[in-house]
């Protein structure tokens, strides 16, 4: 049963990757990578059951948080072009 679940998740991960490669705008790609991450969390959990090692759930828990923070960081970078600086300095003329 877990094998079926693993294969299903892998199939939908592949489809999400297709969108990440096709995506016309950068936001499409970020969204595809975000769903890819959600599916990775589920994949880790299911593989933990498949292998009979419940410790995998800890990894899934941590990955869920990292995935969220990664998405927000990338979005912030594309929105402001910077990760920490809130007040942008005047750019010097080229």
């Amino acid at each position: 049963m877990f094998v079926v679940a693993t294969l299903g998740i892998l199939a939908s991960m592949t489809l999400a990757l297709v969108r990440a490669l096709l995506g016309p705008t950068v936001y499409d790609r970020v969204m595809a990578v975000n769903t890819f991450g959600t599916k990775t969390v589920l994949l880790i959990a299911v593989v933990g059951f498949l292998a009979g090692r419940p410790e995998f759930l800890d990894l899934a828990l941590v990955y869920a948080l990292i995935n969220f923070i990664g998405t927000i960081a990338v979005l912030k970078f594309f929105e402001f072009g910077d990760l920490g600086l809130t007040v942008r300095l005047e750019r010097e003329p080229d």
Partner: protein, 114 residues
Amino acid sequence: MEMVLEVLSWISICGGLFFMLVGTIGILRLPDVYTRLHAAGMTDTMGAGFLILGLCFQAISGMMHDHPSWWTVLVRLVLIYAFLLFTSPIATHALARAGLAGGVEPWTNERGEG
């Protein structure tokens, strides 16, 4: 009792896989970022929800076999879903806002009315 749990677990996992695949098909079929976000939200809520529910049934079935760590497994599964439930709308909102700020026009139906 064990049989019932097994069947429930199967149904939930298959339902989760169904919603996840439909969400991913939606990501491929729908025309622009904002509409695709709806489909992605489907994967995050019901796809993950039913899959984790199915795994929860498995953990409860493990309890019947006196598996020592069933309780922590259940707690972790619920926590994973809680994190997904809290973070998914925030990421979706941030994506939609970043898209609007980045000047991506929402796609509209030519007829205007649905």
